[in-house]
């Protein structure tokens, strides 16, 4: 049995045209309960106008990230007992993104920067060529593998104070994607990637605060990826080879 019958849940409500305001709900407490369960209970039992976003509920789709007691988290895999502050939880929309309504943040800037960071495939071969064999033990492949489990949840983007202070900054997820492709033997245009990440708002804007790596729910390391890009762009600037 849980120690208490109810949780006190404060939800940030509002959006464009309606300033954000906190609204408090009493939600039944259960032994096994995620933050997403709590938000869903409110929407299904207390206030059907509460807006939030989720899809897979198993930590794969990256839809349900929200601020929970000041920390960006994937709410479907965040157990209430791990984040309770006394008997209370405060839930809000992801930081550093526009709010559509209540807990649903507008992810457009996040994905636009993914493209701006040249986070797209530049093929080395056509569909008519044989598939290129890839050696899984090379250093480059291991660097690329380290970042490919990103689920685009925007937790790192929301955790980053450099993003908060510099709207042009590409952010940890987009830069990690660029680093992954830079290390991919099947990517044909590494210079385009370095060009995209070395300009204004690129990897050199990072202050190495490390909140991205600290809060990544998949335990990825965007900070190290950004540091890798800093090294690669600096080496290219000084005329060195990779």
């Amino acid at each position: 049995m849980p120690e208490r019958d109810h949780l006190t849940v404060t939800v940030q409500r509002g959006g464009p045209g309606a300033p954000m305001r906190p609204q408090t709900f009493e939600v039944p407490a259960y032994d096994n309960q995620t933050v997403l369960d709590v938000v869903s209970w409110i929407q299904q039992n207390a206030d059907p106008t509460l807006t939030y976003r989720f899809a897979c509920r198993v930590g794969m789709c990256g839809s349900c990230a929200m601020m929970v007691n000041g920390v960006p988290r994937w709410t479907c895999r965040t157990h209430v007992s791990k984040v309770l502050d006394g008997n209370a939880i405060e839930v809000g929309p992801l930081r550093n993104l526009p709010v559509i309504k209540d807990l649903a943040a507008d992810m457009d800037p996040f994905f636009d920067k993914w493209v701006s960071a040249e986070g797209m495939h530049h093929p080395t071969r056509t569909r008519d060529d044989a598939i290129e064999p890839i050696d899984p033990v090379t250093m480059e492949r291991q660097e690329a593998n380290a970042g490919i489990e990103c689920i685009n949840c925007s937790v790192c983007y929301s955790a980053c104070d450099t993003v908060a202070g510099n709207p042009d900054y590409l952010g940890p997820a987009a830069l990690q994607r660029a680093w992954t492709l830079y290390n991919d033997a099947k990517d044909a245009n590494k210079d385009a990637i370095l060009d995209a990440v070395s300009g204004k708002g690129g990897c050199h804007s990072c202050h190495s605060m490390g909140s991205c790596t600290t809060y990544c729910p998949n335990e990825l390391d965007p900070l190290s990826a950004i540091l890798g890009l800093k090294r690669a762009t600096a080496k290219r600037f000084f005329g060195g080879r990779k």
Partner: protein
């Protein structure tokens, strides 16, 4: 909503930034006082008697602390950015540097 940030890397960032700002504020004053060595040695000597005051001694401690924090914070950043080591490698490197300082500083304290 109050944002939670207090993890070690963020605190290291904050310490480096604040110590840098503190040093940036101190250095113009420092050079201004030093300029008296060229222009007005008597005034410099009069000013330097202030360093006997306990408050100034405490401030000097603060200054050396800022310098030390900023020096090691800077070395940390250089290592972080230029040495793509794994976490255990970094731990061993930090332990090696700390051990070296312990041995050499103990030697120095014995010598003086």
């Amino acid at each position: 909503m109050k944002v939670a940030r207090a993890h070690p890397l963020w605190l290291a960032y904050l310490l480096h930034r604040l110590s840098g700002l503190g040093l940036a504020l101190f250095l113009p004053l420092h050079f201004w006082v030093l300029s008296y060595a060229l222009n007005d040695a008597a005034k410099l000597d009069a000013f330097l008697t202030l360093t006997e005051m306990p408050l100034v001694k405490a401030a000097e401690f603060g200054l050396v602390f800022l310098l030390a924090v900023h020096l090691f914070g800077g070395l940390r950043l250089i290592a972080l950015e230029w040495l793509p080591w794994s976490a255990p490698q970094k731990t061993w490197a930090a332990a090696a540097v700390a051990g070296s300082f312990l041995v050499s500083t103990t030697f120095l304290l014995q010598a003086i």
